[in-house]
């Protein structure tokens, strides 16, 4: 009883506070004749978006425009997380290198990019670094890659029956997962070890490539071709065009977050005492086994929780896109759509719910992974 009363009071207070805010907003909005509702999402957006992963035109609805912005946010967050993790792993390990040059270079990278404000770095990449690139008609190109101030133009793959290929990749991943569990059971029973890594690679290479032989999948390479727009400007048609807004945001986010992940990796590896490795060696494990069976499982426990935070930070920081015209959910939805409709409360609430959901999803996945690598006490 004693425990319940304070909790009930707290709960009541929270209800009252939120109730007050809702009531206050309601009264003030009706006083000003503003209505509340989400029906505007069905109306035609009537503006264009620079860069979209799905089909979108000015006749699409506001809901569709939201989806375009959301996917652009996820794209830059996802690719940023991958690249930041790779950078973090490389530089985290490099900081422990015995080679002085590598070690100092890694230390310089971490200290330099970690200690400058992210917005400043973003401005540097977008307004300084990517501005000195040549115009499309001035560039020679490098093996069909053209780096220009307008975009990075690269060849792209034009697929036939891509879905069969993708299904086979999923299928082979499931196959590897099942096989791994089966081989582990055999190992536990009979003590026989299998080269799981090599088997996995072979499956991953062979099964999907059968799509080309039997499934009718194929692809052609499409090259960007120069098109003149006027006497002094041009563009490239065909292939893939990656806009500088994306590149700047991607570089700034991953270089910045990579430093924090590098420090997490270093802390994780240094957190394993020398005695652990020596003890493992004395039981007859080789170097690879020591790393895989003793050092990494323990280091990951130290690395993962703070790295989760960095993933969340990177995702939230991607909203700085609005400063450099990358059409993410903040620029497209909480920016353009808000200004065109004037529905501030509705749009901001949707945007907040969006970031909350993305963050919670990342947390949930990382917690699951953390539980998997945590030491299970028996």
């Amino acid at each position: 009883m004693k425990k319940i009363i304070p909790q009930a009071i707290t709960l009541l207070l929270i209800f009252l506070i939120f109730g007050f805010f809702t009531y206050n907003a309601n009264v003030n909005m009706s006083n000003r004749g503003m209505e509340f509702g989400y029906s505007f999402l069905k109306r035609a957006a009537s503006f264009d978006i620079q860069f979209s992963l799905i089909e979108y035109s000015r006749e699409s609805s506001y809901a569709r425009a939201y989806l375009v912005g959301l996917l652009n946010t996820l794209l830059v967050a996802f690719s940023g997380i991958i690249f930041a993790t790779i950078l973090g792993l490389i530089f985290g390990i490099a900081r422990l290198s015995k080679n002085l040059l590598i070690k100092e270079f890694a230390a310089f990278y971490v200290e330099f990019f970690r200690n400058l404000p992210l917005l400043l770095q973003l401005f540097f990449w977008y307004y300084a670094a990517l501005r000195i690139l040549p115009l499309p008609h001035e560039t020679e190109g490098f093996h069909n890659f053209y780096i220009t101030i307008k975009s990075l133009y690269t060849p792209s793959l034009v697929w036939e029956n891509l879905s069969i290929f993708l299904y086979l990749i999923v299928f082979s991943i499931i196959l590897i997962f099942l096989l791994k569990n089966y081989l582990k059971k055999i190992q536990e029973k009979h003590g026989k070890q299998f080269p799981i890594l090599i088997i996995s690679i072979v499956i991953l290479l062979l099964v999907p490539s059968s799509a080309f032989l039997f499934g009718g999948s194929s692809f052609e390479i499409e090259y960007p071709v120069y098109k003149e727009l006027s006497a002094t400007s041009g563009t490239f048609i065909g292939g893939l065009a990656i806009p500088p807004e994306f590149i700047a945001l991607f570089l700034a986010l991953s270089l910045y977050t990579g430093t924090f992940i590098a420090e997490n990796v270093r802390a994780g590896i240094e957190g394993i005492s020398k005695g652990q490795k020596e003890a493992a060696a004395s039981t007859g494990l080789n170097q690879k086994q020591i790393l895989n069976l003793v050092v990494l499982p323990q280091a990951l426990r130290i690395i993962i929780p703070p790295t989760t935070n960095q993933y969340l930070n990177l995702t939230k920081n991607s909203s700085l896109a609005a400063a450099i015209a990358y059409p993410d959910v903040v620029l497209v939805f909480a920016g353009t759509a808000l200004m065109q409709t004037g529905r501030a409360i509705e749009i901001v609430s949707i945007t907040m719910a969006t970031y909350l959901s993305i963050s919670l999803a990342i947390s949930a996945f990382m917690n699951y992974y953390n539980k998997k690598v945590a030491i299970t006490e028996k």
């Binding site: 009537s46 000015r58 501005r131 115009l135 002094t232």
Partner: protein
């Protein structure tokens, strides 16, 4: 009989006094905004974050421009002093929310009058103080002479969240040009990105193009294409639901345009008071009764003209003499001089 007459006249006088008293207070009473403005002793005015000629703060922090002059006129009319204005710089994104939330009472920020804004956002546009239209700026050496030279694959820099963005989408769709929009929240970012070569064209209202062109590193390298692709009537905005305040702002603007039409300037306003023309007598307050109807005193219009000037003076000072649009006034000339500036009569 004479006894009664004396009583009758005093009664009539009393009723008349009472009547004028009540009409004055009625107007003031009906308008919460007017009451608050008088109490605060300054007009709360929403302006841009800096657009030369329209609303721009000089080095000393004094605001100037044709949009600023509307707020100064309201302050002169209501409070007797054109300097009693508190300016709030607002981004395109903030402006309507700031007005609706009561942060400002007049929004005079190069804002285009459209149906959606008028009806859907609970705003009231009180008039037009600048007739603008959207245009394009391109590099001179590109050889482009008109929008007919636009080709699919081009990129265009602009500001997001404005009518500009919607007009551009409509225009390009009609011309079947597949283009890339590079949209910024701030005008200077859009301009600099175009200047660096990221975009083939920069689009905004033509007055804005002219103002931004002067700031580019080599203004002569850029030209403004002849076409105007949209109507952009810019004007002051107030909140819906305060008819008295709405009228005060509307007629503060109208009186400036009316004064130009009848040749009343800040220099000759006092002299014009003795004019025989009834219209001029009404503008200068020599013939009383106009201010009363708005809940103001009789000299409201004279103060506007003397402290702010008529529309032509404001235009010359802010738009022509600053070199933004030094040439002819185009549609912003009076209807009597080949333009479309036409206001209802002040009577």
């Amino acid at each position: 009989m004479f006894k009664y007459l004396k009583q009758l006249t005093s009664l009539v006088a009393m009723v008349a006094v009472l009547f004028t008293f009540t009409t004055e207070t009625m107007a003031a009473k009906k308008s919460k905004t007017l009451k608050n403005t008088i109490k605060k002793d300054f007009v709360r005015c929403g302006v841009s974050q800096g657009l030369a000629g329209f609303s721009n703060a000089d080095a000393a922090g004094n605001w100037e421009g044709v949009d600023v002059d509307v707020c100064r006129a309201v302050a002169a009319a209501v409070l007797g002093d054109a300097n009693k204005v508190k300016y709030t710089p607002l981004s395109a994104k903030e402006r309507f929310t700031a007005l609706n939330a009561g942060q400002v009472d007049v929004l005079s920020r190069n804002t285009t009058w459209t149906l959606t804004r008028d009806a859907d956002l609970n705003l009231t546009f009180v008039g037009v103080n600048f007739y603008d239209g959207q245009g394009f700026m391109v590099r001179k050496d590109s050889g482009m002479k008109s929008t007919a030279d636009f080709k699919s694959g081009m990129s265009v820099c602009t500001n997001i969240g404005t009518t500009t963005e919607l007009n551009l989408a409509d225009f390009m769709a009609a011309k079947k040009i597949d283009y890339k929009l590079v949209g910024f929240e701030k005008a200077d970012e859009a301009r600099d990105t175009y200047g660096a070569g990221r975009c083939d064209a920069y689009t905004t209202d033509k007055s804005g193009l002219a103002a931004q062109r002067t700031v580019l590193s080599n203004p002569d390298d850029h030209i403004i294409l002849p076409e105007t692709i949209s109507k952009e009537p810019l004007g002051p905005v107030v909140r819906q639901g305060d008819a008295v305040w709405e009228d005060i702002v509307r007629w503060s603007l109208n009186v400036m345009i009316e004064a130009e039409e009848y040749g009343v300037t800040s220099a000759n306003a006092d002299m014009m008071k003795s004019s025989e023309n009834p219209s001029i007598r009404k503008i200068t307050g020599a013939e009383p009764g106009m201010g009363e109807k708005l809940g103001l005193d009789n000299d409201w219009s004279l103060r506007i003209i003397k402290q702010v000037g008529n529309y032509g003076e404001s235009y010359k000072r802010n738009i022509q003499d600053t070199g933004i649009l030094p040439g002819s006034r185009g549609p912003n000339a009076l209807w009597t001089q080949g333009g479309i500036l036409y206001v209802p009569p002040l009577r």
